[in-house]
Amino acid sequence: MHSLRQYIELYRDNRDTIEAAAAVIINRRRPEALRALEAFAEQPAPRTPYRETSADLLYAPDYGLNIGRLQFAVDLAASFRCDVPNISTLLAVVVNDTYRPGALLEKNLPAGVSVMSLARAAAEHPEWVEPYLDSLSACATPTAALNSLLLQDGVMVHISRGVRLDKPIQIVSIFNSPTAMLAVRRLLVVADEGAAARLLLCDHSQGSGVPYLSCAVTEIFAGAGAEVEVYGIEEANADTVRVSETHARVADGARLLLNGSFLSGGISVNDYDVRLDGDDARADLSGLVIGGGSQCAANRVVLRHHGRRCVSRQLFKYALFDDARGEFGGKIVVDEGATGTDAEQNNRNLLVSDGARMDSAPQLEIYCDDVRCGHGSATGELDANALFYMRQRGIPLDEARMMLTQAFMSDVVDAVGYEPVRDRLRHLVEKRLGGEAASCANCSAEDSLCNR
C-alpha cells in the first residue's frame, strides 16, 4: 500500500508539531503505530470487491492535515435547522478533527456522565483512557494504524457505574475546510457496570467540491450489565470519503446496539468488530444504505461470540439507485466453548437501477456445537406485482417505487430503540427517497443547539 508512505513521511517531518498538541498517553502509542503502518505500506492492499473501496486508493489523494490545530469557522446553524419535536440531546460538535463542546453541555450532563476531549480525559482521568485506548483497534489494520499514528485529539464518553442516562448524547462531526482535508477522528466510549447510554453520531460535510477524508476509529466498552446504544447517520456530500472502524467489547449481561445509516456521501467504508466477551450478552447491529449517483457504501461486520448464551442479531439493508455500489461483509464467529449461542444475520438488497451493483458475503465460522446460527442474504428488484397493484390504484410509478422502498427499509428504522431518533430517521429516509437533498434540515438537534 504505497499510498500510506505519504503519511509516514508526513509524521516523520512533523513529529514534534503533531505530538505537541496531543496527550502523553496518545503519543506513547505512536512508535507501535508507525511500525504497523510501515509494515502495511510494504504489503498489498486487502482485496475488495470494488476498486473504489480499496484502502490503497482511498488514502492515495493528497489531503491536508490540520496538525497545527487551526480553528475553522463553521456555520453550525446551516447544518442544524431542526424542527422535529420530542427530542433533546446533549450536543457536542467535532469540526474536522477538533472537539468543540456545546457551552451548556457540561452543565446539562448528569453526575457520573462525562463527555470531553480525549486530551483532557487523558490528563484528568488517565484511568479512563490508559487501559482502553487502542486496546481493541490495536493497529491491526491500515486505518487503525494510521489513526493511532496521526491522532491528536478525540472525544471521550464515560458513564460511571450504575448511571443511566435518558437523554442521548449527540456528537456531530462536520467537515469544513477550504482545501482537501483528512480528519483523524477518535471516539472512546466506556460504560461501566450497569450504566446505560445512547449516542447519536452524525457525520456531515459543508461546502461542495472539496474532497474530505474521515479516518475514524471508535472503541466501545460495555461493562457488565451495561446498555449502550449507538446510532450513526451519515449525510455528507459526494466528495466526502469516510473510512471508519468501530470496535466493541461487551461484558457479562451487557447489551450493545449499533445502528448505522448511510443517506448520502461519496464513499463510505465501515468496519465493525464486535466481541461478546461475557456470558448472556447481546448485540444488535443494523444498518441501512440508500445509495445513488456513483456512491459506494460498504459495511463489514465481524461479530465474535466468546461468552456463553449470547445473542446477536444483524440486519443490513441496501437500496441502490443509479450507479451506486453496495458491499456487505458479515461474519459471525463462534468460539469454542461459546455454548448456547443464538446468532442471526440478515442482509437484504434492492437494486433499483441498471447500473447499481451489490456484493454480499455473509459468513459463518463456528467452532462450537451448541449453537443456533443462521444467515440469509437476498438481492433483487422491486416486486413487479406490488408495483402493478399500486399503479392500478392510481399511484404514479415513481411514488409507488418510493413507497415500496420505504417499506423495504422500515424494519431497519424500526430497529432503532429510541423513539425520537427512530422518528427522525424515518423522516430522513422519506426525504432521501423523495429525492430531496439530504441535509440536516429538520435535524432534531436544534433544540440543544439553540440552548447553547
Binding site: P49, E336, T339, N349, L351, V352, S353, D354, A356, R357, M358, D359, S360, A361, P362, Q363, L364, E365, I366, Y367, C368, D369, D370, V371, R372, C373, G374, H375, G376, S377, A378, T379, G380, E381
Partner: protein
Amino acid sequence: MSDKETAGTRANDGQTLADATTGDYKYGFSTDVDTDVIPAGLNEDVIRLISKKKGEPQWLLDFRLEAYRYWLTLKPPTWAHLDIPPIDYQAISYYAAPLPRKAPGSLDEVDPEVLDTFNRLGIPLQEQKALAGMAVDAVMDSVSVRTTHREKLAEMGIIFCSFSEAVKDYPDLVRKYLGKVVGYRDNFYAALNSAVFSDGSFVYIPRGVRCPMELSTYFRINSAGTGQFERTLIVADADAYVSYLEGCTAPMRDENQLHAAIVEIIAEDRAEVKYSTVQNWYAGDAEGRGGVYNFVTKRGLCRGDYSKLSWTQVETGSAITWKYPSCVLAGEGAVGEFYSVAVTRNRQQADTGTKMIHLGNNTRSTIVSKGISAGSSQNSYRGLVRVAPSASGCRNYTQCDSLLLSDHCGAHTFPEIKIGNPTAVVEHEATTSKISEQQIFYCNQRGIPTEEAVGLIVNGYAREVMNKLPMEFAVEAQKLLAVTLEGSVG
C-alpha cells in the same frame, strides 16, 4: 436386462476389469498389481517422458509444457479455510501405469476392520457388478485399464473411453475442447494437472442422443507415493443427455497422497449433463495421520441455450478436500444445480462449495449444500454466485446448512454474492445447529438407540441431496453416511 444378467455380461468382459473392480479390492487397501512407475520428481523431462509413454502428439506435449512453465510461476492457494502441510512436489511420482496381467491380492490381505465396514455398508463383493446398468471405465492409478460397453455405446455414436485413447482416436475432438473450460492458467492445481495428467475419461454424446445408461468411472489410487492427476472431459452436443457417475475409494496408507484432478464439462444447446460423485478416499486415521489430499477443479460450461448441468456430490473421505464444482451459465436460460453433502470427522478438513456464474439471460441456479462435522474436523462451504451486468432475469437460490456433532469441530460458511444486474433475484440462506436433544430423546423413547437415531436424523437432513443421486449411488451413499458417522456422537 436384470442386474444379475448385466453382472454376468460384465464378468465376461475380461479378467483384467474384474480384477480391477471387484469389491474386495475396492476399499481401503493396496493390491500388489505391478505398476510402471516413473521415479519421483517433476521437470520438463518427466513431462516429455509421460507424453512419450502415452504416445501423445506434439500439440499435447506443448500444452503440458506450457502448463508446467506456468505452474512454476505459481504458489499454492492459501485462501481456503484449510491447514495444508507443505507438499514436496518433487517427492511425488507423476506416472504409474498398472501392468494388468498380474493377479490381484486375495481377501486375506484386507484389513478385517475395513471388510467389516463394507459388510455393514451392505456391499457384498459381487454387488459391485450387480449395481450395473452402468458402463464402467475402471481407472486404476493413472491409466484406464479397460473400458466396457464401449461398442454398445459406439452404436449410438457415443464416445466413452479413456483420455489417452481419445487422444489417439479422436484427436480433433480432444484438441477442440481440452482446456476450454478449465484452462491451465486457472489455478495452481489445474496448472499442475495440465502438465502431468496421466489419464481419465472422455465422453462425447452426439447431437440428439440420450445416453441409455449411467456412465461410470471408478477412480482409485493404488501405487504408493503416486499422485493421481485425472482429467475428465465430457461434451454433450445439442439435445444430448448423459448421467455420469464418479466414485472414489483409496487404499489405506500412512503417507499422504495427492489427488489433483480436473473435470471439464461442456453442454451445448438444450443438452443436459448430470454429474454425480461419491467421494470416499482414505481420510487418515483418528489422529489425522495419512489420508488423501483431494484438490480438484471441476467446472462445466453451459454454452448452449437452455442447457443444464447438475452436480451432485457426497463427500465423506479425504484428509483434505479442496473442491468447487462450478457452472458457467453462458447460454440463454441455462440451468446450473449443485447438491452436496460433505461429512467430515476425526481431523478431516473440507473446503468445498460451488460457483454459479450467470452470463446468459434468464439463467437459473440452485445450490443445496449440507455439511456435517464431527470429531475435530473442519467443514467449510465456500460459494460464489455472480450475475454479470449483461445478464437479465437471472435467478439463484442457495441453501447451505451445517450440522455439528461434536463440541470441538468447526462448521463454516463463506458465500459470496456479486450482483451486477438489477433484474436478478438471488437468495441465500444458511443455518448451523446441532442435533437437538429432543430429537434423540424422541427416537430413544421409541426404542431406537442413539447411534441409529443419529444415522436416521442425518439421513433425513441429507435427504434433499441424496434424492438427486442416481439409484445405484443413493443406496450406497446413504449407508456410507451412517457408517461414516458411527462412533462420532457421544
